[in-house]
Symmetry: C2
Subunit: 342 residues, 2 copies
């Protein structure tokens, strides 16, 4: 069974909540954080006292470089050194991405790591990639994101042969920026058993189940992801306000409540475990800092599943078979992936 290196710093509810999640997950865990706060843990968890946190640093890339004793850096180093098989961090996405890049490093043949997020859409869950690691990309990056996202959807989320779409402003291949048009042509021409390329997906079809994985640059992906969160919250809030607007409505709302509970469960962001850090030599999962033990347990279980199912190896094999690996070392001018905030 794989061992997961977990950074306990940065969770809104504190390191103890992360430890409780690790306990619930039931897989071997190396837990990096303030031992005093973490307290007693079951046998399958080894606590490494690492009280220094960079989860709230404004410049996470710089902090990850200059703070080798930080819990996220030590957790990432444990993965790099082979003491653990995957990384989970309750801290900021930026710090996890930076520590992952510097310690675990990019997988061979990968241009840029990316962040993938499985979005819990009722009835039609969809994974967006990239949701913020790379605000500017080239078409070969988008092609690799498709493979990385598809391998994740297959191995961790259990989608047989994922349908992969390219986010654009129109369905036709000629729609989109030159970048998107180029990526469309490149994806259409690749032949891979890993996924089926379903072409461009417009904004209004992101939630209708036409694709399991939707590929885009990190700028558009971040805007899209947050827009989905914002619009669902606004709509549910508005429906709730309507349900409080009169005695008659209140009674209606009360009768609907039990059925809505199942719906809320389906939308629960803690279930998919958080954002996935793809394209490194090992898998990373970044649950949101506001998660409860339930979300942390889910992230740790998903990381273990990803390690067991060898997401990284599958991605590499599919990219190699399709001839989409980075051929030569990147030129010196290749910028590193930018590191987003939380």
């Amino acid at each position: 069974m794989p061992t997961i290196a977990v950074d306990a710093n940065g969770a809104d509810l504190g390191a103890r909540e992360v430890a409780l999640g690790a306990a619930d997950a039931g897989v071997p865990v190396l837990l990096f954080g303030p031992a005093g706060e973490i307290g007693d843990v079951p046998d399958h968890i080894s606590v490494v006292d690492a009280p220094v946190s960079i989860a709230k640093e404004g410049d996470p890339a710089r902090a990850a470089r200059s703070t080798p004793e930080a819990s996220i850096v030590r957790a990432a180093r444990a993965v790099a050194d082979g003491e653990a098989d995957a990384l989970v961090s309750a801290g900021s996405t930026g710090a996890a991405l930076a520590a992952g890049l510097f310690q675990i490093r990019r997988a061979r043949g990968i241009h840029r790591p990316a962040l993938a997020l499985p979005v819990p859409v009722p009835g039609n869950p969809v994974t967006l990639v990239d949701v913020g690691a790379n605000v500017e990309v080239r078409s070969e990056h988008l092609v690799q994101f498709a493979f990385m996202g598809a391998a994740l959807a297959h191995a961790v989320l259990g989608v047989e042969r994922p349908r992969v779409g390219l986010l654009s402003n129109g369905e036709e291949a000629v729609k989109g920026t030159p970048l998107v048009q180029e990526a469309h042509a490149a994806l259409r021409d690749r032949d891979t058993p890993l996924f089926e390329f379903v072409g461009n997906v417009e904004g209004n079809h992101v939630t209708t189940g036409v694709a399991d994985v939707i590929v885009t640059d990190g700028f558009t992906g971040n805007v899209a992801l947050k827009l989905m969160e914002g619009v669902s919250q606004t709509m549910l809030g508005a429906v709730r306000d309507v349900a409080m607007s009169s005695t008659r409505s209140k009674l209606g709302g009360l009768l609907l409540k039990p059925a809505l509970r199942g719906f809320r469960d389906e939308l629960d962001p803690e279930r998919p475990g958080g954002a996935y850090l793809l394209g490194l030599r090992r898998l990373g999962v970044v649950p949101h800092g506001r998660f409860t033990r339930r979300g942390f347990a889910s992230a740790i279980r998903q990381a273990a599943r990803g390690a067991e199912e060898d997401v990284v190896g599958r991605t590499h094999a599919a990219l190699e078979a399709a001839g989409a690996l980075r051929r030569a070392p990147e030129a010196a001018s290749e910028p590193p992936a930018t590191v987003p905030g939380t």
Copy 2:
């Protein structure tokens, strides 16, 4: 009172529905379309028999150039010749944009026309610009979109001093692509009584009322707009499904129905009249082809209001005072605005 040139071709419900909308609007209208289908109209409408439609053409720019007898081209020419003061088209956005560009032409000092859409968010309506006319932009285009959107919000939508935000993947000025960072700096440095620049707006704040106008490129704007439509429909559909899931829930839904009706009215896309074509010498409004007479009436009234309140002149004056007009004729290499599909 201004006269509005209206293209009656392209509406899903037919030219008669557009004519009924024009009748309801109660402002002088030059109505271009198939006279036989249009039928009887009240005195304030003059029908010009123009049966040729390019609303369904795959390449609207080409169709608008090569079909001078098309109803949308004739309507745009009437505006260009001064017979009417603003343009309304029930046909495709692409055809309206192309006909507008070729006939009415860009306003003096404007780099690129843009499409603005007032989105009916419950409690917090917000206007997105550009929603698809320009998939690639430069920062000075985004700066002008801010002025164009603010003038629209002020003169037509009645917002006193619009708050204008820039769509990005983080609130800080350093977030976003180099293009967005450059536009942020340029907007921060402009001083204008027309609007207040509120900085970057993330996706999750588009619907929370932090800005009245949100500026972005036409690719991101189109994806964002359609995503908002898709997510709201998915959420409302899911709530409806929940309300049908048991007898108890059905009773609850029934009790909520009257209150939900007001909510549906607030979300009604026909109320704001459609998309606004900004940056030409005269205002254009493009109601959606699926609108009913109510939406067409609204579009025509809004176009009249925009002409009366001189949206175009206000935009020009504010851009001039802020030193943001295009100084010299564009280089020959300047690509024309791309023409999106419907």
